[in-house]
């Protein structure tokens, strides 16, 4: 099986990899680029643990082929913090203990960041619908939703 050469941008850095056309973007991020933040929960688009942005749009990286990343801009959880300074969402998730095992957390952070960029003042219902494709088996969601709502308020007050 011949491999395809892919040039793409991940968290602002130009990267290249060779992949089989059947490999997903999630496989390529984890196994070729060693970016293991995005997780594989289901591999079928149901859990959101693999959430990344593709040209700014939130997607499941398990439902994108590695070859489709050619010429695109990918954003993963590894690009959320600014050096050693955590993103306000990351800090708030720690403050609220909005995670337990942490498998869902990278996907939820990427998804929540995409929401706040599009809608800085979401209602609780909007947050819950936006995150409906991000499953968490541990927290019962309440702390996650409160952490996102509270971060949104802090970020609005900061500007």
């Amino acid at each position: 099986m011949s491999k395809i050469h892919v040039s793409t941008t991940v968290n602002g850095d130009a990267v290249e990899y060779l992949c089989d056309p059947r490999e997903t973007l999630l496989d390529c991020l984890r196994d070729k680029l060693s970016l293991t933040g995005a997780k594989e929960g289901c591999g079928t688009g149901d859990c959101g643990a693999c959430s990344v942005t593709l040209d700014g749009r939130l997607v499941c990286s398990c439902l994108v082929l590695g070859v489709e990343a050619e010429g695109k801009e990918i954003g993963t959880v590894e690009g959320i913090a600014d050096g050693d300074v955590l993103h306000p969402l990351q800090q708030k998730f720690i403050d609220y203990a909005a995670l337990q095992c942490g498998i869902c957390t990278p996907g939820i952070l990427v998804a929540a960041k995409a929401l706040l960029e599009q809608n800085p003042d979401p209602t609780e219902e909007e947050v819950r619908f936006w995150l409906a494709g991000n499953l968490c088996r541990c927290t019962g969601y309440d702390k996650i939703i409160r952490a996102v709502m509270d971060t949104a308020r802090d970020m609005r007050e900061a500007v």
Binding site: G45, L58, C62, V64, V67, W130, L131, A132, G133
Partner: protein, 293 residues
């Protein structure tokens, strides 16, 4: 698996016509990749249509009709205020597909050509009178979208044929459309019944209507008796009763874990009433937001 990303539909069609084994087109991939990963369908040839120019465009034509590229995602439709204003039912149906993440990729054309009887956008497209341009080895043809799905997982597209654009008619005056589905949860589930209504008013009286049902037969249904039940009425209680009866009478559903035959048949009537009321209010100029609006 061979991956191709052609630069035109003519090239895409040639590649598909020349391919041996199983061929799939790749739009948003939210069905293709799930089937690939679950070992249900591993295509020998995968033809990505997203690099073809124009496939991400939403265009309002001079006559008020719309042309949608086949790679336009549900999210892009929902963000297009003028499209939402003209065809809220088509957009709300597409926006019910999957999660935010799935919306970032999933397309109307993929929803149609995957051939699921429960595909949410298909009843809304059928009620709206959407047509598709199909490019094949012998050129182009234009067909109503309802003629494409022929049964679960099957379509009328011949070898080498690819959908190259979707066309939504001009909205015109005093008209509205709507779509609702029943699912056991509030999000992320497959329709047990889906219903779309598209209608036009002359004063308070319905002058034209199209009623479509999903998930109650092997393919989407256009229910002419249900439309006839409300044309000429002001959507009074008697008309709504006739509409519900006609919608239920058209159902030929399956029994499965998400709904019995009796349940699906009854829910079709209940949804038809609710959807017709929303479409009627929209035709009167009311703004009624969709579930995700």
């Amino acid at each position: 698996m061979q991956y191709h990303s052609p630069a035109s539909f003519a090239e895409a069609s040639q590649l598909a016509a020349a391919a041996t084994g199983t061929t799939r087109f790749l739009a948003g991939g939210t069905d293709v990749l799930v089937q690939l990963r679950a070992d249900i369908v591993t295509p020998d040839t995968l033809i990505d249509i997203k690099k073809i120019p124009g496939t991400r465009d939403i265009t309002r034509n001079a006559d008020g009709s719309w042309t949608l590229g086949v790679a336009v995602s549900g999210a892009e439709m929902g963000e297009h205020a003028a499209l939402v204003a003209d065809w809220p039912g088509v957009v709300e149906a597409m926006n019910l597909v999957g999660s935010t993440q799935v919306q970032g990729r999933a397309t109307l054309t993929g929803n149609l050509c995957n051939g699921s009887p429960a595909a949410d956008s298909v009843p809304a497209m059928v009620a709206a009178g959407v047509t598709a341009t199909v490019t094949g080895p012998n050129g182009e043809r234009k067909v109503p979208v309802g003629s494409i799905p022929t049964g679960p997982g099957r379509t009328s597209l011949a070898k080498g044929e690819v959908v190259s654009a979707l066309h939504i008619p001009a909205r015109g005056e005093h008209a509205g459309d709507a779509y609702l589905r029943f699912i056991p949860r509030s999000e992320m589930d497959i329709a047990v019944v889906g219903c779309a209504v598209n209608l036009r008013l002359d004063g308070d009286t319905i002058s034209e209507a199209r009623v479509s049902l999903g998930a109650v037969a092997p393919t989407v249904l256009l229910v002419e008796d249900a439309a006839a039940a409300i044309v000429g009425s002001t959507l009074d209680d008697a008309a709504l009763d006739r509409l519900a009866a006609a919608a239920s009478a058209a159902c030929k559903p399956i029994n499965d874990k998400r709904g019995t035959i009796e349940f699906r048949t009854q829910v079709a009537g209940v949804l038809a009433r609710r959807v017709a009321r929303i479409a009627y209010a929209r035709a009167k100029g009311e703004i009624i937001k969709g579930h995700h609006g």
